[in-house]
Amino acid sequence: MEDSTSGGEEDYYYSSDRESLDGLENEDSDFQWAPSKGPTTKVITKESLLAAQREDLRRVMDMLSLREHHARTLLIHYRWDVEKLLAVLVEKGKADLFAEAGVSVVECEDTGSPLLSSSTAMCDICMEELPGDTMTKMACGHRFCNDCWTEHFVVKINEGQSRRIRCMAHKCNAICDEAVVRSLVGKKHPDLAEKFDRFLLESYIEDNRMVKWCPSTPHCGNAIRVEDDEFCEVECSCGLQFCFSCLSEAHSPCSCMMWELWTKKCRDESETVNWITVHTKPCPKCHKPVEKNGGCNLVSCICGQAFCWLCGGATGRDHTWSRIAGHSCGRYKEDREKKTERAKRDLYRYMHYHNRYKAHTDSFKLESKLKETILEKVSISEERESRLRDFSWVTNGLYRLFRSRRVLSYSYPFAFYMFGEELFKDEMTNDEREIKQHLFEDQQQQLEANVEKLSMFLEEPFDQYTDDKVMEIRMQVINLSVIIDTLCKKMYECIENDLLGSLQCNTHNIAPYKSKGIEKASELAVCWNNKASTTADTCFPSDCGTSGKHDRPISLGSADDNGCPSQKRPKKETYGGAFFDLNLPAEVLDRN
């Protein structure tokens, strides 16, 4: 299939499902999607990065009446944590706050400017007596020649330390004025000056705990900023949903560590290898793996060779209950069997959880495919002469189904680690573990049963039913949706409070349950940028000669301009395979 055709089709479906949602008037379902408040997570694009940075810069500049480059040096030192910076200010005072970050606010007139050309001075670095106008004095008072400063900056920028270039004087903690760095380096190495600017700009992402690059590949060029909780799941405007904390796919209610272990376990072939060692042994004659086919320890290979399962040695073909003919095997030991038993038990346990995890992931994929069919049924039904005009309950039910499927599938790796011995062996007694496991499994089973029911109702050919029957299905779907939402919420609460919450080690955190699905980060308003940059321009000191630089388009390091637009693109069901828009109804409502 050609790309253009498939794209066109998707657009068609996209607009058709939008229409159906625009006509959403049903009060039963309406309440579920009403936006409570706007998303607090923000998408930072190439265009809005400067605005995002300026927001924080402005706060600090206004509060401490500082110039921009000083505010930036402070913020880089405190990793863009304005609250932390203010706490230090309150606790230790302005002088200490500045000293720790290497900011020297000395309003001496000749700072950053050359001396009169008539005088000469000694540069302690190159040890030359030089005309004063070839030297530059930093705010800390240290003066060296421009060539030496430039060389120093070049070395630091190339080392990748350019966000905080210290003064050249021994034991001087002052951070060099970025305007001086920019102008001196720019004269000799314009490319490096650009790199320097980019480093400063990207510091807002690299040095900031609350901002991370979107992990999409190829990279969409965006970063995501969260408000106060690092443990959350978020959707970038490129459509990728991910765990903000570990940057892998959204995996709650698994903790990041559990998810990492689980994906590794699934990847590892060691499990299969284990299976083979538990279930097969090589024939002593032809070396093919032979599977044991009954309880009997005399096994025979297709080549005709009989051998002892316990020691692998060749034997005769006859055996009694107690011994195998022509073979006396003294190597049978209980611990050997125990070991095998244990490996087998571990494997079965893994398989138990993995099968269920996989079953729900597969259902999720299947149901995603069904989405189009179901939405088609909706449009057919809407065309019909009927007193039922509103089918938003179908879409709402569908999204509830997707969300709960995800929860269900990730609840299995969670349970695997929560009640296994790998992570929390010493955290609970066996009795405690058993009680907790039962509690959790009850919830899991309830949720599972309701999810399957919902799936069943949504697959009914309601476009061919009578109005009464459709009304009945509608009631069921709406009821089940509410029940499932409550059950999911309860399961997360149970995990947070009763299971993870009771552990000694608190390294396991899970993203909170969101009824509406993973939060879609909203784009940081760029219009703010224009306003801010004009005000910033007016207060730019004259020695920062490049104040207009932010008007240039800024290309970010890892972002490639390969046609990944940073503006919202229409959501396509097929985006990224497993990921697609779980938030559509809410979002459409938000837009209206």
């Binding site: 040890m127 060389e151 070049v154 050249m168 021994h170 034991k171 001087c172």
Partner: protein, 194 residues
């Protein structure tokens, strides 16, 4: 590129002041990128009387990048590797400033000899000894100074040689000499009485 004009000036300054500072820096060959530094062991330390040779290599970015320095003379010190001579000193790493010179760097190394920092060790064995058995540490450091950092330390090998010829095992001779601080007669007495 190394700023050779500055290195030249540094060398001139060093030779002017070598009588007061006791610190000598000289190029290894015509190439100013490889140099040899000599520092006297500080008075009142187990290194007193010793003369320590330091191998200096200048990186391309000198003086904007720190010079590489290591002891050629074997030395027993918590922040200097007894094996390789590597030095653990902040100004030779991230605290380097282009305003420092070879002379000031060598002075810092000399200061390190007077004031070890066992909490940031380069040689864990030495640091352990420094913290737990200070007297043994002083003895060993002094012995190493005697053995390796003194012009007369040439004599040590001769002492070892003579005692070995008298029929004692090399290892035993060395450890006995070490225990008595290098005194050949005391060592012989001890060897005979054991």
């Amino acid at each position: 590129m190394i700023d050779f004009a500055r290195v030249q000036k540094e060398l001139q300054e060093c030779s002017r002041e070598k009588d007061t500072s006791g610190i000598k820096v000289s190029p290894k060959s015509d190439n100013l990128a490889r140099l040899t530094g000599i520092i006297p062991g500080p008075l009142g330390t187990p290194y007193e009387g010793g003369s320590f040779e330091i191998d200096i290599t200048l990186p391309d970015g000198y003086p904007f990048e720190p010079p590489k320095m290591k002891f050629v003379t074997k030395v027993w010190h918590p922040n200097i590797s007894s094996q390789s001579g590597a030095i653990c000193l902040d100004i030779l790493k991230d605290q380097w400033s282009p305003a420092l010179t070879l002379k000031t760097a060598l002075l810092s190394v000399q200061a390190l000899l007077s004031a070890p920092e066992p909490d940031d060790p380069q040689d864990a064995v030495v640091a352990q000894q420094y913290l737990r058995e200070y007297q043994t540490f002083v003895g060993t450091a002094r012995y190493w100074t005697e053995s390796f950092a003194k012009a007369s330390s040439l004599g040590l090998e001769e002492k070892v040689q003579r005692l070995v010829e008298m029929g004692f095992a090399v290892g035993l001779v060395r450890s006995t000499l070490e225990a008595v601080g290098g005194d050949e007669n005391l060592a012989l007495e001890k060897l005979l009485s054991s």
